[in-house]
Every structure is written in structure tokens, then in C-alpha cells.
Amino acid sequence: MTGRLSLNSTETVTDDAELLERIRGGATDDFAEIVRRHQSRVFAILHRYERDAHKVEDLAQETFVKAWRALGQFDGRAPFEHWLSRIAARVALDHLRREKRRQNEIGLPELGDDALDWLRSDDEKNELDARGAAELLDLAMRELSPADRVVITMQELEGRSVKEIAAAIGASGVAVRVRAMRARAKLRQALEKMAKENL
């Protein structure tokens, strides 16, 4: 992420708000700088929902194009990255809904041996590597509804507050809390089922 944009030889813009003002004023090419500043964050968010790097790239592009189209609605009261993160979460939600339909047709990928061993093990010291853990979670979360998955991912993997999640998915704080609780229970059941099925 680069923090500064050289607009001409004498001027630099470090603030998103200032840069967005220029874009609204017609400097559309400056949007590339907005993309460069926030692309890593958007890729990180979308990677929580999609393991395929090419698909993550497509979803990230969709996120920025949607942000561009909705730029007139950004009022600047919250930081731009929060607003963009909400768009990314909604893009992810739409993607999960599409994938859910596809998943019913093609079935689920298989689980690796390391993840299976960890799942069956009772040894507290036995740790699963980051990639294996992400793959295992990805597979187990396919048992959840897309909205449940977004809630639990934002809460547990991104460390977002209930308020932020509520704003991202357009639900009340109470609804988010209830959904998170149910989602965690379903996830636990899904993991237990996976351990039993693969014995």
C-alpha cells in the first residue's frame, strides 16, 4: 500500500478524503491510487471467503467497481476503508450465495490428511498450520448459510465488532449476536461430522 500519490511535481495527496474529492471533481484516473492503497486489505477480506486466487482477484475487482459506482453515496463520516470493507463483505456474501448453488451441483473438495489428524486428535499441543486451518474452516463453513458464514468470519477471523458486522450485512446488532451464536454451534457440528465421516 502506498501512502502518497504524486499528482504533479509539486503536490502530493496523503489523505483519502482529499483524493476522493479530486476524483469526484473529474480526476477519474486518481481512482487507481485509491485501489493501490486499499487493494491488500480487500484481497485479505475476500480471501477469507474464497481460496482460489483468481476468483479473489475477480471479486476484488468487483468490489472496487462497485465502490466506484457508489462513490457519490460515500459521505466521508466514516473512514473510506470501513466503507470499502462493507462493500467487500457484501460482494463476498453475493459470491457465497452463487457458490452455494454451484456447490450443490459439484460437491465438496476432500480434506487433507494433516487437517484430518488434527481434527481427530485430543492432544492440545498438536497445532494445525495456517493454510490447513483455513482450508478446514473453509470446508466446514460450507455447511453454514452465506450470511452465517459472513458473520462468523467477520467476528472470529477479522475481529470486527457486532456494530461493524451489523452495518456490513444490513442487520440489527441483536440479529448479528443471535446469528453468530447459531453459526458457531453449526460450525462445531459440521467439524464433528467431518471428523466422524472421515474415520
Binding site: 476524483i23 469526484r24 471533481g25 473529474g26 477519474t28 484516473d29 481512482f31 487507481a32 491510487e33 485501489v35 493501490r36 487493494q39 491488500s40 484481497f43 485479505a44 475476500l46 480471501h47 486466487a53 479473489v56 482477484e57 476484488a60 475487482q61 472496487f64 467497481v65 466506484w68 459506482r69 457508489a70 462513490l71 457519490g72 492440545e124 497445532e127 494445525l128 498450520d129 495456517a130 493454510r131 490447513g132 486451518a133 483455513a134 478446514l136 474452516l137 472470529e156 477471523l157 458457531r184 460450525l187 462445531r188 467439524l191 464433528e192 471428523a195
Partner: protein
């Protein structure tokens, strides 16, 4: 699957690195944006705004009509001439007289 194990799974998955954006990703996004047929984001025409407001305006207009009808019936019930009678009386007395309009 106990809570501790679930927490351990989340903690490990958090460390999973996302793919790095390609070098020309920003340029690709810009190319897509340049192909967009829509107007720049800041230009919202009066017709677009009316379009956005249409459902609310229609609802407000319906509410006003309902209130007027209810008021008319209410006034008739207490003996006050209805709105249509009032309008006819007004036009007969003031507007359609030889000295009126």
C-alpha cells in the same frame, strides 16, 4: 469439538496469508471503470432523484388523499358542509357571479 479447539482453529486460520494483488491490478480496475457506460459518480440528474424518491412520494400522496377523504366524511358527520359542497358554494358565491371571474 470443544471451545478451546475451535478457538485454536480460528487463531491458526487468521495467520493464513492472502494472495498478493497483481502488479497491474489497479490499472485493470481503471480499465473496467473507463468502459463503464454510466456517468461519473457525482452527476445525479433530477430525474434520477425523482426516480429514487418516487415510492415515498407516491406513498405520501396516497396518505394525503386518504386524510382528505376521512376529513371530508368527518366534517359531514358533524354537520359541516363537505369539501365538494364547500367548493361548489364558493364558486357559486364568489367566482361565478356577474362581478366575479
Amino acid at each position: 469439538m470443544n471451545n478451546r479447539k475451535l478457538k485454536q482453529l480460528f487463531a491458526s486460520a487468521q495467520k493464513d496469508a492472502a494472495p498478493a494483488p497483481p502488479e497491474d491490478f489497479a490499472a485493470d480496475v481503471l480499465r473496467v471503470i473507463h468502459r463503464e457506460p454510466a456517468a461519473p459518480p457525482e452527476t445525479v440528474s433530477i430525474f434520477d432523484q425523482l426516480n429514487l424518491w418516487f415510492p415515498r412520494l407516491a406513498l405520501a400522496a396516497s396518505a394525503v388523499i386518504v386524510v382528505c377523504i376521512a376529513l371530508d366524511y368527518g366534517l359531514m358527520a358533524v354537520g359541516v358542509p363537505s369539501l365538494s359542497d364547500g367548493a361548489a358554494q364558493l364558486s357559486a358565491q364568489w367566482l361565478l357571479t356577474p362581478t366575479g371571474l
